[in-house]
Amino acid sequence: MTQDRKSLAAWLQAAPMMLVFAIFFLLPLVFVVIVSAWDYNEYEMLPAFSLRGYTDTFEGCIADLPELCTILKTYLKTLELCVLTWVLTLLIGFTVAYFLAFHVRSKTWQIVLTLICTIPFWTSNVIRMIAWIPLLGRNGLVNKGLMGMGLIRQPLEWLLFSEFSVVLALVHLFTFFMVVPIFNSMIRIDKRLIEAAYDAGASGWQTLANIVIPLAKPGIVIGSIFVITIVMGDFVTVGVMGGQQIASAGKIIETRLNALQFPAAAANAVILLGITILIISSLTRIVDIRKEL
């Protein structure tokens, strides 16, 4: 009886959060799926079953063969950005986490340095994006520096509003999402394991490959999920840093929305959701997230 009452009390404590997620997360997802199968005209959605949202999205995919249609090209581009960002954030994030976890010895310094990495996360993404303009622009510091050194004669045009600047900004913004979970996994590694490896004659690289990386794998997977899902759905960074010229999976949805083609936007959202779930489920096969918290 008391057990039941306790469990009821706990349920009531969790209810407000459940309610928020139900109204503002689960229900909206249901509407996305429903509306994706609605019809639409130039200015409004029509509540009648139609797969136009999907067929419009894949328009030309068969007719244009062997040329790739727009949607496939866009997804390939998005995947390319995703892989580039993932590799870079993983390498940088792993190295930074490794330094914090294994080389910073005092707890205070560990907290201070972690905070230094976290503070930018609490400031605006848009500002951190536009912050690259004075550095990478045609008359920016980088171009001026390179011209001053006589390395180039014309300003490099690909520094800003290009794929390069998009990936740079994504790495700049989201390496944090790699550092935190990897650090969290590394800090739990028993230091004696590493000493034992050294005592047994393992080189630094061998210890890294056979002890640190396998034990940090949960953090690596969680960080990867964060970075990949963010980049797959991103439209702000691609928009601002790509000069609104680069297409991505998220950008298609935004474009459709601006054209008030809600069912088409929803259909694209469902496709994006499907691909994201596919990526996550293959990643979670490697690790059980819940155990790692």
Partner: protein
């Protein structure tokens, strides 16, 4: 382990320093450039030093209605902060016992965290559009839209801040000594007294941390707001709109002001956390040991 640092330490320390420079360098570039002289442009060199661009932000010259957006974002951030703290602490307490739907709630929170923002935003936008159609269909007089800053906008922000709040609560209670509560109960404390006088003082520094996440994540939120905020814009949305049109340093001035608010909140929160921890130590309890 000897005291001598291995050679890899110096290499990694250098790498870390480079990373920090990479993180902060560009931001400081725009903070400096926001003090550009009246004839200065978007890039270095500085053409004199002035407060002209801050003045333009405040008087609205060039940028429309920035003050209103600033106020809206502050208000929304404050509400999101309070609700995030209340709901996260409450749910965090619940997770210490088993209850129906605990696993579901956990996975929903994680899903909400990693869901591409544009999808959540689109969904909330659709939901409120359909609600409007429904209410209009009923023939309600004077109804325009249910979408707004403190309805759909608030909800959109909560889908982003609540998962962080919940995860921080998990981290707190993973390190929390449950015997303290048992002791309180044994001494006759009611559940509310146990929470108010035992649990809350111990977890308070981390709760301030949840508030910090709640405010800053909302203050800077962009992607989830984009389709779910209705006719008015928050500050980040205005800022994003300006990136394509503005060719003068007033956008940097606005960026500097926005960051100043973030930094003010961050440092206030950190100081409060430090003060609370110092207080715990002074009172001689062993509570501080369990903190993050």
């Amino acid at each position: 382990m000897g005291d001598k640092r291995p050679r890899s330490f110096y290499f990694l320390a250098l790498f870390f320093a480079a990373y920090v420079l990479f993180l902060y360098g560009p931001m400081f570039a725009i903070y400096i450039l926001s003090f550009q002289g009246p004839d200065g442009g978007l890039t270095f060199p500085m053409n004199g030093v002035s407060l002209v661009w801050f003045d333009r932000v405040f008087t609205g010259g060039g940028i429309v209605n920035i003050g209103a957006a600033f106020k809206r974002s502050l208000e929304l951030g404050a509400v999101v902060m309070v609700l995030t703290v209340l709901l996260s602490v409450s749910a965090g307490m619940a997770f210490r016992r088993s209850f129906r739907g605990a696993t579901v709630l956990f996975y929903v929170a994680i899903a909400s965290l990693i869901m591409p923002s544009i999808i959540t935003s689109l969904g909330i936008g659709l939901e409120f559009r359909l609600l409007d159609d429904f209410v209009n269909g009923l023939g309600v007089e004077g109804w325009t839209t249910g979408m707004g800053l403190f309805t759909s906008g608030l909800g959109a922000h909560m889908t982003w801040t609540l998962p962080f709040g919940l995860l921080i609560m998990f981290a707190i209670f993973n390190r929390f000594d449950g015997r303290l509560e048992e002791a309180a109960r044994d001494l006759g404390a009611t559940p509310w007294q146990t929470f108010r006088y035992v649990v809350l003082p111990i977890i308070l520094p981390s709760v301030v941390g949840i508030g910090l996440f709640g405010f800053t994540l909302s203050w800077d939120e962009l992607a989830r707001s984009s389709q779910a905020i209705g006719s008015v814009n928050t500050l980040p949305l205005e800022l994003q709109g300006l990136t394509t049109t503005v060719t003068k340093p007033d956008i940097y001035a606005l960026g500097t002001l926005t960051s100043a608010v973030s930094f003010l909140v961050i440092f206030t929160a950190l100081i409060v956390i430090l003060l609370l921890q110092a207080r715990q130590r002074r009172h001689g309890s062993d509570a501080g040991k369990g903190m993050v």
